[in-house]
């Protein structure tokens, strides 16, 4: 009798759940959006540069496979980030249309998608390339999804300073995939992206400050104010200019890179000074746009120098540090 009652209750419960469960309206594009394709493209590009500048190279098929694993690992981080931040995303105009807040993808689907890709990308990179690169990829996913998204972002205005490391690791992963180790050159590439991240993101947060405040995220302009953020942007830009030139100063990159890094660094400081002296949303947007161009051009020049064999035109004393 009790069995009958229990099974009837269970059936009723299941019917009730089925009635509330909406069939998924997620399209393929929604799942691609969960991977944050724009962030992923930057990760792929910087990881590719890390692979190309490495002193040893794997077979192109292996290289492509390694790059694919790194890209999918980055996408997994994006999906896990969107799963965790769905409620915050819903409060911000810039992110309200993302697949979870708009209701097209259920949070559980995004979590399962992110975890599957994370485990898959790490496992395949380890099995097919090497376990050092795989371990580094796993650490990067953990750093972005847990350390940055769950811990730093909602708790400190230094969130993107420390969390920026996650975005800066890909060249080191690419290098590790090719060489099976770490090198000073790949660390310098990490350093360039790491120091570049704060002025880049703070410029964006300056003109999205109200949204961050509404969402309760302690970004620098929300906590310390716009004036202090502009001062910090200037300080980091002044630091970025010499850091950007380090690969050349250490003899890893050629003269074209050195001149580009110096010119880019000076322009970056000029935009930061302009923003510091005359605060305007338009100036912050200009700095944000220029920062993307700066990083893209620097890493492109590294690629070009490797292709035309001009990477050896670095400062002759540089390699003594290696």
């Amino acid at each position: 009798m009790s069995f009958t009652t229990d099974s009837a209750g269970l059936a009723s419960s299941l019917r009730s759940e089925a009635a509330h469960a909406e069939p998924s309206m997620a399209g393929v594009g929604d799942y691609l959006a969960l991977l944050k394709p724009r962030v992923m493209s930057l990760v792929v590009f910087t990881a590719l540069v890390g692979m190309v500048v490495a002193p040893v190279h794997a077979h192109p098929v292996l290289g492509f496979f390694a790059l694919l694993c790194i890209a999918i690992g980055a996408g997994a981080s994006g999906a896990l980030n969107m799963w965790y931040e769905a409620e915050i995303d819903a409060k911000m105009k810039r992110t309200a249309g993302r697949p979870i807040p708009s209701g097209r993808v259920q949070p559980g689907e995004a979590l399962a998608f992110g975890l599957t890709l994370a485990v898959g990308s790490v496992a395949f990179l380890g099995l097919m390339v090497n376990w050092l690169a795989a371990g580094f990829l796993a650490f990067t996913i953990f750093f972005y999804a847990v350390v940055y998204t769950m811990w730093l972002k909602p708790s400190t205005p230094q969130n993107i300073v420390i969390g920026g490391a996650a975005g800066a690791f890909p060249p080191m992963i690419g290098w590790a995939a090719m060489t099976g180790g770490f090198g000073l050159e790949s660390f310098l590439l990490f350093l360039v992206i790491f120091v570049w991240t704060p002025p880049h993101f703070w410029a964006l947060s300056l003109y999205s400050v109200e949204e961050y405040r509404r969402a309760g995220i302690p970004m620098m302009p929300v906590v310390a104010g716009a004036a202090e953020t502009r001062r910090q942007i200037l300080l980091y830009s002044v630091l970025l200019a010499p850091v950007g030139a380090l690969p050349w100063l250490f003899g890893y990159a050629g003269l074209i890179y050195g001149l580009t890094a110096i010119a880019g660094g000076v322009l970056m400081i000029a935009f930061a000074v302009k923003l510091y002296q005359a605060p305007a949303e338009q100036t912050a947007k200009q700095l944000f746009a220029f920062s993307i161009l700066y990083l893209f051009v620097l890493f492109s020049v590294l690629l070009i120098e490797q292709s035309i064999g001009a990477a050896g035109w670095g400062l002759p004393f540089g390699r003594v540090f290696a």
Binding site: T4, S7, A8, A11, R15, A18, A21, P23, S24, M25, A26, G27, V28, Y31, H59, V61, L62, F65, L68, F124, M128
Partner: protein, 59 residues
């Protein structure tokens, strides 16, 4: 209990709209293509890793 069972059988369940069916089909095709690409990639990477040794084994 038999009444409950017959109720259950008569219920239509979840009926998908044409749009939902179309999206489910697109998702299914995407998964199939992804799995196919993964199989091919693993095959080629295995061949590359084994190199000439792939044909050099005692029979």
């Amino acid at each position: 209990m038999s009444v409950a069972m017959s109720d259950q059988q008569n219920e239509p369940g979840i009926v998908l709209t044409a749009e939902q069916k179309r999206r489910r089909r697109a998702r299914s095709i995407a998964i199939a293509v992804s799995l196919g690409v993964l199989v091919l990639l693993v095959y080629f990477v295995t061949i590359v890793k084994l190199g000439p040794g792939v044909l050099n084994r005692p029979l």
